[in-house]
Amino acid sequence: MSIAFIILLLPLVAAASILLGIRKKANLSAYVSVASAGICFLLTLGLIRGSGGEAGAFTWLSVGGLELKIALEITGLTRGMILVVTLVGLLVHIFSLGYMRDDAGKARYFAGLSLFMFSMSGIVLADNFAMMFIFWELVGVSSYLLIGHWFQKNSAAEASKKAFLVNRIGDFGFMAGILLLWGATGEIGFSALRETLEVQTFDPSLLNWAMICIFCGAVGKSAQVPLHVWLPDAMEGPTPVSALIHAATMVAAGVFMLTKVTFLIIAAPVAASVIQHVGALTALLAALMATQQSDIKKILAYSTLSQLGYMVMAVGFAGFLHSGEAVGAVASNAGFFHLYTHAFFKALLFLGAGAVIYACHHEQDIWKMGGLIRLMPVTAITFLIGTAALAGLPPLSGFWSKDAVMAVTQNSTPLLIVGAITAFLTAFYMSRLCTIVFFGKARSQAAREAGEVPLMMRAPLVILALGAVIAGFEFAYGWFIAPADLPHPHGALPLVLTIIGVAGIVTGYLLHRGREKDPIRVEVLVRKFYIDEFYLFLVRVFQDGVAYLAKAVDQLLIDGLIVRGSARLTVGVGLLLRGLQGGNLQRHVFLFGVGIVIVIYLITIALG
C-alpha cells in the first residue's frame, strides 16, 4: 500500500466512519475529518520529495477484453496539484472548525468534506480515463452534498440540484469523449494513449471530436461559458465549501485534466482553438458580470470563473500551430502554474470573505458592510494581499503566473487583447469590492459591531497570504515544473500588464469611495446576460413540453389504441353475436330460410 493509496483512501475511511459510527457526536467527527486532512497533507509532503512513477494498481473491473484499473501515477503536475489539494483542504478544514461550530448538521458537513477530499485526490492521482471519470462524478456528488448542506432552505436545495445536473451534462460529454478514444485506440491509460498516438496515426476528425467531447467534461466541471450557470448559485453552500471547492480544487480539476491530456490537444489543433476561444470568452464574460454583483461571494465566484477562463485559454494554446509546429507542453505548464498560484490567493479571498460574513452575522451584501479595516485588521490585510495578487501586482505570485499565461497568449493578438481587457476588469472589480467592504464607513449596524474572527479562522488566512506571496517565486514551484518549461514574456508585456493592473485598482477605488450604491447599473450584466432565464426557458420548453407530449402520446396512442382498442373490439364482437340468439321465432325461421336458399345456391354452383 503505497503512500499515494493512503492519501487516497484515508478521507474515505474518515467519511465512512463519520457516516456510520460517530454520527451522533459532531465534535468527534469534526476532529476525525481534520485529522485525516492533516495526515494526508503530511504524507503529501513525503510523497513530493519521493521519486515519481507508478504507485501500485488495483484491478477494479475486468470482463471480456475490458480491463479497468484503479491505478495511481505520480508525475510532475500531480505532485503540484496534490500539494494544493491537501494544503488548501487542511486549511479549509481548520477554518470550518470555527465557521461551523454551532451548525446542526456538523457531522454531515465534515463527512461531505472528507468525501470531497477522497474524490479530489482520486482525480489528481488517476492514471487512466475511467478512474478519472469515476472520481469526476464522485466530486460532482460531494459538491452536491456540500452545496445542499442547509437543505431546509429551498434555494440551497435548488442550487445543489442545478450544480449536479449541469455537472452531469458535462460528464455526458466527457464519457462520450472517452468512449470515442477507447473505440479508436483501445486504450484508456494516459501513458498508453500517449505511446499509441505517437506510433499510429488516427483520422484527425475523430481525434478532434473526441478532444472536444473531453473538453466538454472540463467545461462542465470548471464552469466554462455554456455550463457556468451553476457556480454563482453554488454560493448557497457554506463559505469554506466555496473556498475549497469553488476556488481552489474542484473547478481546477477541469484544467488539471486538460494539462494531463496535452498530448491529445497537440494532436487535435481544431479542438485546441475551440478550447482557447471558450476560455477567452469565459474570462471576458465572467469579468464583466463580476463588476455588477453586490453579493461578496458572487463576485469572488465570477472572478474564479474569469481566472479559470485564463487557465483554459492558456492550456488551449498547447495545440496552437505556431508556424506549422504546435506550441506544445509549455502552454499547458503556464496554465497549470496560474492554477497553482490562483488556488492560494483565491482560497485566501474566499476564506477572508467567510470571515467577513461570519463577523457580520452572515451578512453577504457588500453594500451593508464598510470600514471593516479598522475592526478586522488581520482579515483586511490578508484580503488586500490576495486582491493585489489577483490583480497581478509585480512581487506577488499572481503577477508571475498571469505573465506566463499572457506570454503564451501572445501567439494570437485578438486573444491577447481580450486577456488585457479582462486583466483590467479583474483589477477593477476587486478594488471595487475592497473599497466598499473595508474602506469608507460602516453602512449597517452589523458592520459596526463586527469584531475580529477567532484565531482558528485567522491562522489559515495568514498562511494562505504567505503562500500567495511566495508561490510566484521559482523556489516555490521549481520542484514540479522546471522554470525552463515556463514561457517567458518577451517585449514590454510585463510592464504593460502592471500598468493595466494599477489603472484598474485606481479607477475602482475612485469610482466607489464613499458611495451608497453602484454608480452605473448595467442591467444586462446584473442579470447575468439573462443566461439563466434562457436556460430555464430551454428546460421548460424541451424537457417538460416534450415530456408532457410523450406522456400524452403514451396515454393515448399506446394505451388507448392498442390495449383498450383490442379490448373494446372483443366486447363489440360479443354483443353482435348475442343478437342472433334473440327469442323471436320469426327470426329463427327467417334465418332457416336464408340457410336453405344459400345451400341450394351453392349446390347448383357445385353441380353446375
Binding site: 348475442r578 342472433l580 340468439q581 334473440g582 327469442g583 323471436n584 321465432l585 320469426q586 325461421v589 327467417f590 330460410g593
Partner: protein
C-alpha cells in the same frame, strides 16, 4: 297429353313454398302448424312422383319403398301434430296467447 315429372315437382315445390310462406308470415301458431303439415305433404307428393316416374320412361320403379316411406312420414306427422297441439294447449293455458311475439322467453 299426360303430365310430366317436372310438372309434379313444380306443383309440390309451389305447395312447399306456400307452406313455408305461411310459417314465415303468420303470427298464429295454429296456422303455422297447418302450414307445416302442408310442407310435409308437399314432400310426400314429390316422393310419390319420383316413384311413379322411377324407371325413366314414365313407368313406376320396382320396389314400393317410396310408398312405405310416405306412409311412415304421414304416421310421424300425425304423432307430431298430436304432441304439437298438446303443447299448444298447455302453452295457451299458461300464457293465454297464441301469438308468437309474446312467446320469446327463450331469448339468448
Amino acid at each position: 297429353m299426360m303430365p310430366s315429372l317436372n310438372e309434379y315437382l313444380m306443383v309440390s315445390g309451389l305447395l312447399f313454398a306456400i307452406g313455408f310462406a305461411g310459417v314465415l308470415m303468420r303470427r298464429n301458431i295454429i296456422i303455422i302448424f297447418m302450414c307445416l303439415e302442408m310442407m310435409l305433404s308437399a314432400a310426400n307428393l314429390s316422393l310419390v312422383a319420383f316413384w311413379r316416374f322411377g324407371n325413366g320412361q314414365g313407368m313406376p320403379a320396382q320396389g314400393y319403398d317410396a310408398q312405405v316411406l310416405v306412409f311412415f312420414v304421414i304416421a310421424v306427422a300425425a304423432a307430431e301434430v298430436a304432441v304439437g297441439l298438446a303443447i299448444i294447449v298447455a302453452l295457451f293455458r299458461a300464457r293465454c296467447t297464441v301469438h308468437v311475439e309474446d312467446l320469446n322467453s327463450m331469448k339468448g
